[in-house]
Amino acid sequence: MKKGILQRILESAVWRSIFRTGIPDTDLKRSMLMYNNFFLHIFPVKMKRHGLRFCYTFCLGGISFLLFIILCVTGILLMFLYTPSIERAYFDMQALALIFNGKILRNLHRWAAHGMVVTVFLHMVRVFYTRSYRPPREFNWVIGIWLLILTLALSYTGYLLPWDQLAYWGITVGTTIMSYTPFLGKHIQYFVLGADEVGHEALLRFYVLHCAVIPFVALVLMAIHFWRVRKDGGISGPL
């Protein structure tokens, strides 16, 4: 029998050196495909049937992570086009609208960020109502709450960066609320802003926190969060 071009490619030495498993036509090969793939190996090779029900998870954790990836990609692209200084930040934003697809880049980043705040919160709500925080998953719930806090921190630090009226006064209102903390209020506000008011120091701080510090911490916590889902016995069962 003559071999088709697809067959030839799939059987070639190059293809087989990249994808070792070959066509997944048996259960063993289907397992190997999950197991041998770097990106898929965080998933189990077999899953509980109820865990795939959309109405159990609503895919909220997965959507949150997808939005995080989209935010990383669009965020890095935006970093090429943005200067964290009060002289240039706002005008970089205006220039962005003139760049090919620049507006869409910013829109994607903005709406994905708002979306992530919503999906992470809803993910917490889902985990609560399915009572998935019960032993042995207690600590993963704690990591999840930290991730919710970090998501809010990421969104909040990003809010200042466009340096428009919305950003400036949004951050002013927020940090004023922080300054109501008994005893330490003014110190906390100064620590966050790097000065008494929102200015260049605050913009630089928020930029570094937004682009480097918080995403890194969040990524490490996410890695532990996903790892623990597996280690604690996979997705939780029905109540």
Partner: protein, 181 residues
Amino acid sequence: MEKDQEKVFVNDPNKTYGLMEIVEGTSPMAEKAPEDTIESFPHYIILLTICSLAVTFVLFIISLFLDAPLEELANPLVTPNPGKAPWYFTGIQELIHYTDKPVIPGIIIPLLIIIWLFLIPYIDRKPKTRFTSLFNRIFIGGEKRRILIVLFTSFVLGALIFTLIGSLFRGENWNFILPWR
């Protein structure tokens, strides 16, 4: 899982085994209790791909037609009325509006809620002693955790309602407005 397996495979040396039935399957299931699992590939991977593409597509459509806001250049001398925090903090701002002691809704209540959220899995446990059983009855509400559900639901609804009021229904001088007027 261990217990489930023992129910099916009783550790009884006198038990004899025999062929009972031939069932359909694609892989051997020797010495395993029946489990309701399926292969991740393709079942889960298909779901994952569809869901990811759908979310990305919807996000693209939104970004095509809805522009992210960009107001005028930041000006410390011109205070907008009302000055609003990002939408996820307008609930707190709304609460602060009701009191002249902003530290209570601004700092203490959010902090207590966060600590309570952290503690949920550690207080909702199977009671072992009489004390923990009493504790459970007061803070959780027994096996059905009625009290905890009421508390959590009121937290979610409260956050939703105050955030909605704070971000949409508040105008100049934080007066009540209707967003569609």
